[in-house]
């Protein structure tokens, strides 16, 4: 549970720094090796359920594959058209393959990093830690928490409004235009009740002495310890090592704005 127990803010900073570092790199090897490293951590150190992990990852896999394919199909004119690989009877320039791989793998790397964070962090703990370590204003932080609590309520309410309107003899929307119109009708009762709920919650919070000032104590305290810094240093040094490795085998390229 090492990853779960890390300070959420430091974990987030580590992820952000890794992403920033990855954006300046443009070769297929660095992200590929880094992805493997993240997956090992996610599945074996953090012990995230593999089914859950794959489920969350699958949309990104599809997106990354789409990116890969479209870059092959509509790639730029290569500067070196003689170096090609034959693939299903098509000659594809190696340069284009490299670009496509680099782009799709970096998408996967960003996704894997985000999932490593999301699947091992409690949202409440993250926000509490942001307040304590990163000076997030309590007004904003508790607002986000209260809003987060509303999401399931709003979902339930939407279901209710839908059936309430059906009872009025309004038929189920079939075309896209009808559907748009229908959602416009749902929005007013939904907003009316959301605003009322938000106001009530705000009043309840104030009458418990909440002022939004930073001058407050915390029941759940988050501190930064050596193990948190260790995680940050470890992740970044792995990434830097990989970059150096890619450099040495001659693959490394700076990112110059390819899409």
């Amino acid at each position: 549970m090492y990853i779960h127990n890390l300070n959420p803010s430091i974990k987030a900073i580590t992820i952000i720094l890794s992403v920033l570092l990855l954006t300046v790199v443009f070769d297929p090897i660095t992200p590929l090796l880094f992805i493997i490293w993240i997956w090992i951590i996610t599945l074996f150190v953090a012990k995230v359920n593999i089914k859950k992990f794959l489920l969350f990852l699958s949309p990104f896999l599809i997106f990354a594959f789409g990116m890969f394919w479209s870059n092959l199909a509509f790639g730029n004119e290569p500067t070196n058209p003689t170096e090609v690989v034959s693939f299903w009877g098509n000659n594809i320039p190696i340069e284009n393959i490299n670009t496509a791989l680099a782009l799709s793998l970096r998408i996967l790397a960003f996704a894997s990093l985000s999932l490593l964070f999301l699947l091992t962090t409690n949202i409440l703990h993250f926000i509490l830690s942001l307040m304590q370590q990163c000076k997030l204003p309590p007004k904003l932080a508790y607002g986000i928490l209260a809003g987060y609590r509303f999401l399931p309520m709003i979902k339930d309410e939407l279901g209710l409004i839908r059936s309430a309107h059906r009872v009025r003899g309004i038929n189920r929307a079939k075309t896209l235009k009808e559907k748009m119109h229908q959602y416009k009708r749902f929005i007013i009762p939904l907003l009316a009740s959301a605003i009322r709920k938000a106001e009530r919650t705000a009043i309840a919070m104030e009458s418990k002495g909440f002022t939004g000032s930073r001058d407050r104590t915390f029941y759940r305290q988050f501190t930064v310890t050596t193990k948190d810094w260790l995680f940050l240093v470890m992740m970044l040094s792995v990434l830097i090592t990989l970059i150096i490795f890619a450099w040495q085998i001659g693959y490394f390229r700076w990112y110059t704005g390819e899409i």
């Binding site: 409440l124 508790y142 928490l145 209260a146 609590r149 399931p152 309520m153 309410e157 209710l160 409004i161 059936s163 309430a164 309107h165 059906r166 009872v167 009025r168 003899g169 309004i170 038929n171 189920r172 009708r185 009762p189 009316a192 009740s193 709920k197 009530r200 919650t201 009043i203 309840a204 919070m205 104030e206 009458s207 418990k208 002495g209 909440f210 002022t211 000032s213 001058d215 407050r216 104590t217 915390f218 029941y219 759940r220 305290q221």
Partner: protein
């Protein structure tokens, strides 16, 4: 020893910006002493919630309007308090259990108030355990708030406030959203707490039953925001009985029964009784209970082996049910027993996993949705959910337009329905701007305008004051007399007693009793408690009298 008031309200007058000509509160004066429990009575819309906001320091800081006069808390004017400091002395429990919390778990929520107060984290654990023990919720410490029942949520709200150790609690209709048994439990908890901890409370309620014994003093507000009585509850009811009835202020049910006796039989109580015991002490003849003629009407709807499972948990379990034309049925049962689900299944709003429902011998799913809706009307708990158009007139005429009636017919039909629902004159108003009672009647209007033969209502009297409840019920009774079957989910046993000719009691997704109300009253009290039902006051009274008689003769 001269006692100083914990709260002193001095000539408090308040206007909202949108209505500068009509004050919400008009020159209110009162004091609240330590160890004194105060009741504030008033019709809905009399400014009770506004008063709460004045007492907890929200106003004048957050007020869009004008406030004159002053509120003193422990002799210090409320404007001199630092932001958030009032909460150390005055704690508030609000009406809606869903919107009082901002954290995810029980312990975090209690800690939230302590954090605001700046309590050291090392001391919080002990304090949280202590208040949870006070409200009997220790096993729920780590539970997620969304998994709690309404009653548990209100007890949690109480615990959160108690943890901050205020001198006085303001309870703003804390039991209005709870079922009768959860209400009694909440009142009991509060009663026991007062024996262990020193605090007093101000309760703002319109459903009074159960609170009477805890109250030391009572204040009455009218719908102009003026205080017209301040003193003993009993004397107040005695002196202002007519005003109370006129304003639609909720009075204890035994008192209401006594007032009915006054109206019917030229008798005047010198002291109006406010509890069942007091009413039973009067030498009054037991009224002949009107046994309703059992109707042998044609079958309207028949449900066979209805089963509904949601995420592999059974909600409704093999329910058989027959409804006959012209019946007035109430569905009773604890929260979560499947009342709403069953009503939605028979209305064809939800589809059962197994089993089928027949309306006039034709399966529900064989009916065209549009035709079905002209037969069955369904009134949702929150009227706003059903509103679609921008004016009352359009709202009522909507389904007639869908059916393609001509404008003259529509006009005639709509004005008749609006008249029946006492909404004449509001044709052009936007549905959202109506009062709670009017919104409710409008939602009923839209569901009877097609002359639906079956009308299903999900807790229609919820959050309504005495007057609008009365208006709604007489409207329903009128429809019922012209042949509409009414199926109503309710917690209000007085309604069951007065209007229903059949009761259905649900427990764990099954119908456990389907009989006449009279048969329900004879069910042993342990069983009723199990179903979370309470006897209506009139029945309690009759049973008391019978006991007295048998005591005398034995």
């Amino acid at each position: 020893m001269i006692q100083t008031a914990v709260i002193k309200v001095d000539q408090l007058t308040l206007f909202f910006e949108d209505y500068p000509e009509k004050p919400v509160l008009d020159a209110i004066n009162f004091e609240s002493m330590a160890k004194e429990n105060l009741l504030i009575l008033g019709p809905s819309g009399c400014g009770k919630s506004t008063l709460t906001h004045c007492l907890n320091g929200l106003y004048p800081r957050e007020l869009d309007g004008k406030l004159t006069g002053d509120v003193f808390i422990n002799s210090k004017s409320i404007v001199e308090f630092a932001h958030g400091e009032v909460s150390h002395t005055v704690g508030v429990v609000f009406q809606d259990p869903e919107t009082q919390f901002c954290m995810f778990t029980v312990e975090d929520e209690i800690a939230f108030g302590l954090e605001n107060k700046g309590i050291l984290p090392s001391e919080m654990g002990k304090m949280i355990d202590h208040v949870l023990e006070l409200v009997n919720m220790t096993p729920f410490k780590n539970r997620s708030i969304t998994t709690l029942s309404g009653g548990q949520k209100q007890k949690l709200a109480l615990a959160c406030i108690l943890a901050m150790e205020p001198d006085i609690l303001v309870l703003d209709e804390p039991t209005a959203n709870l079922d009768p048994v959860a209400t009694l439990e909440f009142i009991d908890t509060l009663d026991q707490l007062q024996q262990q901890k020193e605090f007093s409370f101000i309760i703002i309620e319109h459903q009074l039953d159960g609170w009477v014994s805890l109250i030391d003093r009572c204040m009455m507000l009218n719908n102009k925001g003026q205080l017209f009585y301040n003193g003993n509850l009993r004397d107040g009811i005695n002196a202002h009985r007519h005003t109370l009835e006129q304003q639609g202020i909720w009075i204890p049910t035994p008192t209401r029964l006594a007032l009915n006796i006054e109206h019917q039989s030229d008798y005047t109580f010198d002291h109006l009784p406010i509890t069942v015991d007091e009413l039973a002490a009067y030498p009054l003849p037991t009224p002949v209970s009107s046994t309703r003629i059992t109707k042998s009407n044609p079958l309207a709807l028949k449900a066979e082996k209805l089963t509904w499972t949601k995420k592999s948990t059974p909600i409704i379990n093999e329910v058989d049910l027959s409804l006959y034309e012209g019946e007035f049925i109430t569905i009773l049962g604890a929260n979560g027993s499947g009342k709403s689900s069953l009503s939605k299944l028979i209305a064809g709003i939800e589809k059962p996993t197994k089993g089928s429902t027949y309306l006039y011998e034709k399966k529900l799913n064989e009916w065209k949705e549009r035709d079905l809706r002209t037969k069955i009307g369904y009134v949702f708990q929150n009227p706003e959910h059903q509103f679609i158009t921008d004016s009352v007139y359009d709202e009522v005429s909507l389904s007639l337009r869908i059916r393609g009636l001509n404008e003259a017919d529509i006009k005639e039909r709509v004005s008749l329905i609006l008249h029946q629902c006492q909404l004449t004159g509001f044709e052009e108003s936007h549905p959202y701007t109506l009062s709670q009672g009017q919104k409710r009647r409008l939602s009923v209007a839209t569901m009877i305008v097609d002359n639906q033969s079956l009308l299903i209502l999900d807790e229609p009297t919820f959050g309504q004051d005495a007057n609008s409840t009365k208006q709604l019920l007489s409207l329903l009774q009128e429809r019922n007399e012209t042949g509409t079957s009414i199926v109503m989910i309710t917690h209000d046993m007085e309604i069951v007693h007065q209007y229903a000719d059949r009761v259905i009691v649900m427990e764990d997704g099954k119908i456990v009793l389907d009989a006449s109300p009279t048969a329900l009253w004879e069910v042993p009290s342990e069983q009723l408690l199990n179903w979370q039902l309470e006897l209506p006051v009139q029945v309690k009274l009759d049973q008391r009298k019978q006991k007295d008689v048998s005591y005398v003769y034995s």
